[in-house]
């Protein structure tokens, strides 16, 4: 396959797919960590949803 004249196009297509998929994955992982941190900071300050009972 490597001696195919269009080998570069095949590699570029799979590389693009890999980059897009890993990009999506990393975005979701970092977003999750960011939201968990924000939530933890707010809960540490004593703020609770009404359903969980507000401590203030």
């Amino acid at each position: 396959m490597m001696d195919d004249p269009h080998f570069g196009f095949i590699v570029a297509a799979y590389l693009a797919a890999f980059i897009v998929f890993v990009g999506l994955l990393l975005w979701i992982i970092f977003d999750y960590k960011a939201q968990k941190q924000l939530l933890a900071a707010l809960e540490a300050s004593g703020t609770r949803r009404r359903s969980e009972g507000d401590k203030r």
Partner: protein, 247 residues
């Protein structure tokens, strides 16, 4: 069962277990599919090895419309039933669908150059997929244009349902117009025209990537539920601060 998962807390408990299983099964099936695509599937008699691009291009194309279908169903849930998770689902799937549509366009272009001699033509299939990508971008912009997620959800739901008219155009563009893009060769009346030695690896990759897409969707929905909790708590904290200043 659907109503049980309408509660975000129960849904979060469910996806905590579902995401790792979906991701593991999806990765395994996709890996098997790619292995079969490169080790067992033959080169095409006309396209040669370039046909290997099909194993990433076609699943991306299917998922670009499938994600839009999920977004349209979620939008109905938002507008008709005000389902608590419907607009969370719609918002979470939008960037994933946009990513698969972008990938479909990019890999299609990389396949088109060596086979057609051009990166792009304004034929009906390519143009309708580009329009699909632009609709995704518009919906993403709309989600970010409103401060209140409920208002953004309703506006995005209306735009999503209006844009859904493009889905049959994408699917049937190759039948309705004379296009450079080939007609359907898998999901068509009369069965697939593609040889089983290429069809099975393609289906394996498609199933694997679909499971991975569902795992990503659930994970993005979890992020959105957390974002809304952060917003609610932030507003509560601000209210308490205001009360403290007044008192």
């Amino acid at each position: 069962m659907n109503l049980a998962f309408a509660n975000p807390g129960r849904f979060l408990a469910f996806i905590r277990y579902a995401i790792p299983w979906l991701a593991a099964c999806g990765a395994l099936i996709a890996a098997l599919g790619f292995y079969a695509a490169f080790a067992y599937a033959p080169a095409d008699y006309q396209q040669g090895e370039t046909v290997r691009i099909m194993y990433i291009h076609v699943p991306s194309a299917w998922l670009s419309t499938a994600c839009y279908g999920i977004m349209a169903l979620s939008s109905i849930g938002t507008l008709v039933w005000r389902h608590p998770l419907a607009d969370v689902s719609a918002k979470a799937i939008a960037p994933i669908g946009a990513a698969f549509t972008f990938l479909c366009l990019l890999t299609g272009s990389l396949w088109g150059k060596p086979m057609w001699g051009t990166w792009w033509v304004w034929d009906a299939r390519l143009t309708s997929v580009l329009v699909l990508f632009l609709i995704y971008c518009g919906i993403l912009a709309l989600w970010n244009a409103y401060e209140d997620p409920a208002r953004a959800g309703r506006a995005a739901a209306v735009m999503t349902l209006v844009g859904a008219i493009n889905l049959p155009i994408v699917k049937f563009s190759v039948d309705w117009w004379n296009t450079l893009h080939q007609p359907a060769s898998v999901f068509r009346m009369g069965g697939p025209t593609i040889d089983p030695s290429m069809l099975w690896p393609l289906l394996l990759v498609a199933i694997g990537i679909t499971l991975l897409m569902v795992a990503l969707h659930f994970a993005a929905m979890r992020n959105e539920i957390l974002r809304r909790r952060v917003r609610t708590l932030g507003m509560l904290a601000a209210t308490h601060e205001m009360k403290g200043i007044v008192e």
